[in-house]
């Protein structure tokens, strides 16, 4: 350990010779952020150099690494790509540099409201929205035709979706493993039913837990119904995004809810011959299904916000400039085309080049605009973990008991009265 510390120290010193170096911790994305870092380095005209360091794949593990570095006041952590759900925790702990109002206006201008909401804690902006994400209902057009349904019809619900899959012997792919993605699904269902999981989040561990509500029970009904139907994936309780995608491409593929990356991934795989070449032309998309026909769906909200470490050497100067470069509208567009991850500013979606490359750009824009963020609380990891613990596996969910049991469990976990 001493050696490792020594090595880091030496590494940091050697960088101080010439151009100041900013280290940007990124989530894995096939190199899009690294290319953007290079572009911003070039654009700075030698004022700074951005190097990137890739975090683990899983959002929870990304947070683990960042929190440990920040808790140790790591001065080598200048910029970080944060999952929106972790901004509140890092902000409340003093790990992030807040943007003063004058700067904040620039970073939030034209940005989707859920992205601004997720980047804000206690009235101050702690991260700059970089890209925003949402889930769509992806489906095989041929299956929808066979089932005689139009997922794009107004008022299309989860119940009709499950019926259609059962009728055609196909599946509805979702993220049902015990991880953040399952919480995404639960939260979207609760929000779409008009409820919320946490209220008064600013009160920290005294926040009110509201999952034991009619909306919570309605969400549980849908999960339980799908999990016990023939439309469920055989590996539902361990499925993450990529398993759901493989399910859609398989012989029983029919429908799935998944993030925007699907379009790029499916086209890429078809081109490489990993999946049948005709799949992309059979791939349809629609707005996230509703819970009840008369209430608009609240699709999940995701993406990445860029935060500045509170202990970095250049936090008030170069790091701010770098973040300004990274999150500029042209760079958001560039990054969207490069990586397939949707921009955080609505105007990018009207760009002709974007529309050409992403035929569903308009739908993604509208969905992000009305998306429901997951609970914004410094105790998000505990809330999410506790909900997952009581709602997993999906087939065990009982609308009569699960919401109530999870509500009391979240409370006990928040007060350190239970292990998680």
């Amino acid at each position: 350990m001493a050696l490792a510390l020594l090595a880091t120290g030496l590494g940091a010193c050697s960088a101080e010779g010439g151009t100041p170096t900013l280290t940007w911790y990124t989530n894995p994305d096939d190199g899009g952020q690294t290319r953007l870092a290079a572009a911003c380095t070039k654009a700075s005209g030698g004022r700074y150099r951005i190097t990137t360091s890739v975090l683990p794949n899983d959002a929870t593990q990304q947070r683990e690494q960042l929190v440990r570095r920040l808790a140790a006041k790591d001065s080598g952590l200048d910029i970080m790509s944060l999952d929106p759900v972790f901004v509140a925790e890092a902000a409340a702990a003093g790990f992030l540099r807040a943007f003063p109002a004058a700067e904040a206006a620039h970073f939030t201008q034209g940005v989707f409201p859920p992205a601004v909401q997720s980047s804000t804690w206690d009235g101050r902006l702690y991260a700059a929205p970089f890209w925003a994400n949402t889930q769509l209902l992806w489906y095989r057009k041929s299956v929808a035709r066979k089932a005689g349904i139009d997922p794009n019809a107004p008022g299309f619900t989860w119940d009709r979706l499950i019926d259609a899959a059962v009728r055609t012997g196909t599946t509805v792919g979702v993220q049902g493993s015990k991880y953040e993605g399952y919480m995404v699904w639960i939260n979207a269902l609760v929000a779409s039913a008009g409820g919320r999981i946490v209220g008064g989040a600013e009160r920290g561990d005294d926040a009110s837990i509201e999952i034991d509500s009619p909306a919570g029970r309605r969400a549980a009904e849908i999960i339980s119904r799908l999990a016990r139907s023939r439309a469920a994936s055989p590996t539902l309780s361990t499925d993450i995004e990529e398993q759901a995608r493989a399910l859609l491409n398989g012989s029983r593929g029919g429908f799935m809810v998944n993030w925007g990356y699907i379009w790029r991934a499916e086209n890429g795989d078809a081109k490489d011959g990993v999946i049948a070449r005709n799949i992309p032309s059979d791939l349809g998309w629609a707005r996230y299904p509703r819970v009840s026909p008369d209430r608009d769906a609240k699709p999940p909200f995701g993406g990445i916000e860029v935060g500045i470490g509170a202990y970095g050497r250049h936090k008030d100067t170069l790091a701010v400039d770098a973040v300004r470069c990274i999150t500029s509208t042209p760079n958001m567009k560039k990054y969207m085309i490069d990586s397939g991850n949707p921009a955080a500013r609505a105007e990018v979606f009207d760009d002709p080049e974007i529309v050409r490359q992403f035929p569903m750009a308009g739908l993604i824009r509208d969905s992000i605009g009305v998306a429901a963020p997951r609970p914004i609380t410094p105790y998000y990891t505990d809330v999410s973990g506790a909900v997952q613990s009581r709602w997993h596996p999906p087939a065990s969910v009982d609308p009569n008991t699960t919401p109530g049991r999870s509500e009391s469990f979240v409370r006990r976990v928040l007060r350190d009265q239970a292990l998680l």
Binding site: A71, A92, F95, K178, T235, S237, P378, D416, L419, L420
Partner: protein, 321 residues
């Protein structure tokens, strides 16, 4: 830790065995003896200091922190709660569920590894031709990093990338969707990975059994089975106990396989994983350290039971007798 503890104990036993010189003790020590002892202490000092730094300090620190309600992300809210974290852990059904899981994994793997490992040790011991190849082939799994072997097993049993279901004609049976099927895969991979270690220790034990004892038994008309149970096994009891102790301690702290294959889903979480999730994932340092200290105490208990109860002589592993 155990080696440190056992050294004086072994010394005491050796002293008791010494015959007429008992009582003369200290006075007998020559100048040279004293100098050697001093040199010995001097030479071992760096190791002891490093051990204190990397083992004793974190341990005491964990013990101290376990008395607080403390989160890394809310350092200002730290407050002393005494033994409350221990009470929370010990009255939590999740803790006992994880104890049960850990116990099942430990019991099954140690028993199977001992039996299979003994068989493999016999094969390595008796191999007449291609001795090196046989030994290398048997030891190969032990040379593979646990995380990598865990991934290999996970992908083998995975529905989309795996071949196991095709081979066994299981259709779309989801191994990692049930508690017992997941645990079976975890246990299997653990056995595959560490049986070579057991067989290596047992091979050392087999090599210590004098050949003439077996020959004498054969002359007396003992069957192969009788020779195994009456001659071979009793003569390698020390090696067997050492193998069981090492493997029990390792299996009790199992982490990698569970982390990679199920991440603790389907009630496959073990004690060390529980500690990891409280401390690292939740950053609930106080509660997590309490679980960690409980895990440590259970490890000490196992070691004490073996060393005192079964009189395992650790010096036998080093082969310096």
């Amino acid at each position: 830790m155990t080696t440190l503890e056992s050294a004086p104990a072994a010394g005491r036993r050796a002293g008791r065995r010494g015959t007429g010189r008992r009582g003369a003790g200290r006075a007998d020590l020559s100048d040279r003896g004293r100098a050697e002892r001093r040199l010995g202490l001097l030479l071992s000092a760096p190791a002891v200091i490093v051990m204190l730094m990397v083992t004793a300090y974190p341990l005491v620190n964990a013990l101290y922190l376990s008395l607080f309600s403390y989160r890394i992300t809310a350092p200002d809210d730290r407050r002393f709660v005494g033994l409350r974290n221990y009470a929370t852990a010990l009255t939590d059904s999740l803790f006992w569920q994880d104890v049960t899981t850990t116990f099942i994994v430990t019991a099954v793997t140690v028993v199977v590894e001992l039996v299979v490992g003994f068989g493999l040790a016999m094969v390595m011991h008796r191999a007449v031709f291609a001795r090196r190849t046989v030994r290398t082939a048997i030891l190969l799994p032990y040379g593979i990093v646990t995380v990598i072997s865990a991934f290999a097993w996970r992908y083998a049993f995975d529905l989309q990338s795996g071949f196991v279901n095709t081979w066994l004609g299981l259709g779309d049976y989801a191994w990692f969707s049930g508690r017992w099927s997941s645990l079976s895969v975890i246990v299997l991979s653990e056995i595959w990975k560490t049986t070579p270690f057991v067989s290596l220790l047992l091979l050392a034990g087999l090599a210590q059994v004098p050949r003439d004892l077996g020959e004498a038994a054969t002359v007396d008309g003992a069957t192969a089975w009788q020779r195994l149970w009456r001659v071979t096994v009793p003569n390698m009891k020390a090696a067997i106990l050492v193998a069981v102790l090492f493997r029990t301690l390792d299996a009790w702290r199992i982490f990698d396989n569970v982390f990679v294959m199920t991440a603790g889903q389907q009630k496959t979480e073990t004690l060390s994983f529980l500690t990891y999730r409280q401390t690292i994932t939740r950053t609930a340092i106080g509660l997590g350290d309490a679980v960690g200290v409980l895990l440590f105490l259970s490890v000490v208990l196992i070691a004490v039971v073996f060393i005192r109860g079964f009189r395992v002589d650790l010096s036998r592993v080093r082969g310096d007798r």
